[in-house]
Homo-oligomer: 609 residues x 2
Amino acid sequence: MKSVSFENVALGGFWKKRFEINKNSTIPMVYDRFSDTGRFDAFKFDWEEGQPNRPHIFWDSDIAKWIEAVAYSITKCPDKNLEAIVDGVVDLIEKNQDESGYFNIYFTVCEPDNRWVNRMAHELYCAGHLTEAAIAYYKATGKDKFLRLMEKYMDHIETVFIKEDSAEFCTPGHEEIELALVKLYDCTGNEKYLNMSRHFVDVRGTRQKDEDSPFYINHAYDQSHMPVREMTDATGHSVRAMYLYCAMADLAKRTGDKELFDACRRLFESVAYRQMYVTGGIGSTHYGERFTEDYDLPNDVAYSETCASIGLALFARRMSLIDPDSLYADIAETAIYNCALAGVSLKGNAFFYVNPLEINLERRRKNKEYYQYKGSSFDITQRVEVFDCSCCPPNIARFIASIGDFLYTYNNDTVFFHHYSESEAEFDGIKITQNTEYPNNGKIKITVKGMAGKTLAVRIPSWAENYSIDADTAKTEKGYAYIAINSDCAEINVDFAMGCRLVAANPAVEADIGRVALCRGPLVYCAERIDNTTALNNLSLSENLNATLAFDESMQAYTVEADGFEDGVFDGLYRTYRQNLVPRKIKLIPYFAFANRGESDMLVWLRVK
Amino acid sequence: MKSVSFENVALGGFWKKRFEINKNSTIPMVYDRFSDTGRFDAFKFDWEEGQPNRPHIFWDSDIAKWIEAVAYSITKCPDKNLEAIVDGVVDLIEKNQDESGYFNIYFTVCEPDNRWVNRMAHELYCAGHLTEAAIAYYKATGKDKFLRLMEKYMDHIETVFIKEDSAEFCTPGHEEIELALVKLYDCTGNEKYLNMSRHFVDVRGTRQKDEDSPFYINHAYDQSHMPVREMTDATGHSVRAMYLYCAMADLAKRTGDKELFDACRRLFESVAYRQMYVTGGIGSTHYGERFTEDYDLPNDVAYSETCASIGLALFARRMSLIDPDSLYADIAETAIYNCALAGVSLKGNAFFYVNPLEINLERRRKNKEYYQYKGSSFDITQRVEVFDCSCCPPNIARFIASIGDFLYTYNNDTVFFHHYSESEAEFDGIKITQNTEYPNNGKIKITVKGMAGKTLAVRIPSWAENYSIDADTAKTEKGYAYIAINSDCAEINVDFAMGCRLVAANPAVEADIGRVALCRGPLVYCAERIDNTTALNNLSLSENLNATLAFDESMQAYTVEADGFEDGVFDGLYRTYRQNLVPRKIKLIPYFAFANRGESDMLVWLRVK
């Protein structure tokens, strides 16, 4: 099975608008903030003690992700100014790279004596992101200087970590290099890089040397608690976990390692069936930004980091390449349209790192003294332009710029339609057009050319309880309807009925008990107080929703007005219970669009009556 | 209006059993633990640096409350051994009291240079409790040595705080002495003590000298943020608040100070109508053991300290002496039968300091790492024999030993029946008998002798939606039915219909929304997982309770089995919502009896369907 690259896909509709916002607003905004904070200047390697903007251990990766976003964006929309900025950074990398091949701002400028000493210091993580950036930039521009510099760096890493085993640790405290090495192998064809990736994955959780720096709870925090093939549950820091699992899936695909694939499947199920918010958010606790336990999904203190949801989508996409099971694309879709998209404002210029499923300003205010005394566990309620730890803004930028990667995979016989969007794609003599208002409408007119004698496999989204496909379906297996194409130009109309539906969580999720989330197609909805004028927990949705839709230009999606109830007020504190619900309308908006109109209470899981 | 002392009331039924458990188990248990921890030995004043059991600033008060409990207990059941122990303590107090009259273990033995320096060091608080103990012991035994020693101490305090104003502060950081001084005035008739009490109450919140030690949030913590007559809301540490308000009510009664009474009424309403758990627990947060804001009553992290609930009952009793409004006795009843009684185990040998309204062991376990990292906010789930800060065990002991104080007040015309219990009382030529199974049955046969020409005022509990009184009721005013008594021996039967009822909280109490508490008479019920075999939040009570009762000997109360539902299970994490409730029975027990059968989940506010 092969991927169809975003390069081969021209997106229209919802995602075209998102791509343009990303290009016109997000990429320049992140550039400005990274310039202001000295991240670009840091590549000059001239910072000295006492100056402002001391380089941080993961600044290399912040810029790398921004370069990757630029590379994807200029593939579609060339931009000489952006290219010149990247060329300047690459020149500085060339100038300041150590003769050995080593390149790291912090451990050259700030702590030159501490190279490869601290497993948690993100050196290999930064090397991975720089390599991903170099590959993307090479593909976008054909310029290979950055790529060669990173190959030299990887050769140095091979010497230190494999040939000599001379570092103070064996595997990175924050995974990322493993998946980057597979990309480098794919790009260069050099098996050395595949072997290096396999080394880092295989050695993980097996070496005494890595066990000297327990971080947070234990070694499950960085997925070093056991050999990866033995893992059954997603654990620890959720971004770290996703990047490791991506590499495991990459390796399983390229080496046919069944044991590794089986571990990936178990880990994916552990997330999808027991540890994921309905928004596709993962990693429920602030403390360690990590997975906690099955069904432990509190809504107000949810961590649910933007980067983790992006990582989940990336992991799912890799799994789709091995195993044609719609579970993966279903989960990717959930993560993409909800938690990940919520990470950036509608205007593209402000970001959430943490994506709660409930904001109750009053409760936060009441608990403020308490939480200040204990250390805050509630995060911000408004998106901001930059964070000290600013992994998410450039990550969402590179993710949106390359979102076309997700649509299709194919093999000699079959083209798999994993995701839907107004689009045109061309690859290997095949041309596919989707005409659709997806994600706002489930009707898709598919036109395929050059597929006579092949099969088209259409994902039936798990949310689609009713659907129609105006073609003969040979079989429906693991969520895909397989349709034989007999003519050179075929048109198929599918319609996934996109009504508003109420979703319940397993009763084991205590936070959601007695509550429902309103969903429509892939979008999860939420209520904001700004639309509903009362404390959101006073509201109950009616089982008979009687929903009406209204298109909102700024969201590029429908808002919903549904029937519900509000608890009637009474004086005093307690009284004999009697049913006391006053009928009223409740307005909901897509979760990804929350907090775009000033500070407001927000609630995904509403009571139901 | 006068009080009828517990000395004049012989209790039977529920309270007789509680009195006996208190005498046979609680008082000896607290003695043993206080001996083990060096609290009694501390009165020898021979502790030296480096020895174990360093005296603590409030150990004097721990022993004082225990002595007070002994005094009340031996009033009913003489006990020469207990009396000998108290005499020994009194001898040590006499021996070690400073010539000036000063007596404090910690500030004589540990920090002799720091007398009257630290407003938060509980010196005046300890003086108050010692004085209460001395009065109780004098009344119980006629021995006045302890009383004289404390009068000497109070004279010293008058010199330091009023005549000289020479201490580093003006008023106690923890109130208690104010109400003790009123008791000392009542006992001795010496107006000096009434004036001292008035001084401490009037000066509070007015002096610059007291404003140098902000503690926790601000001066509202110790009710020093404004003159007491201006207060509108109960604030700060809830035990401190209650003891201050008791003294304010005491002074309002004895001086006719209308302004002070009005402040008491506002403060009482602030508690009863906006800041009290349905169990009569108050002070919702661990952080500062204090009131937070109106309607902020979380159930799992509830603080709801035993001593605070006792304090609320004491405040209510004082208000009943001024204003014949049943609000006070209603609230006292709630606090007594629920939060306060929950403070001690059924066997009388173990104690809760904190009384949550929800225990979810799984949630606590899941959050353990998180809360350990932040500092715990969940308290213990099993009662223990002793605490470092052991105010509650002797407090509940003295409270139960003198519970008869609560039943009646009277003036020349009218005897007010505030509380119900199998009992006989004699005072001022009046004899009252109550035959009842209260709190388990609302039927009370009242027999009164010596009341011809007077009026009997029977409190109609706020929970009694239906009731009958087989006598002519002249009027019903502020919750009391006034009945003229014409014969020397009259019998009146009242029946407060005691069905199981569901109680709802004001929707402003976010924690209770969509939930109900099952109550029967004055008792609030809770479900324990040990009886219900599933996560308690999976249960919903049916609006049609269809309750059946079963008497439990160990609880001396009824358990309830009611109709309800359990959420049906399903595989996976999310699915389309459909009503999925499986009918089942739910067992509930009185809240005061929770956590007597090992560690278990517990829930007061159940969902309702």
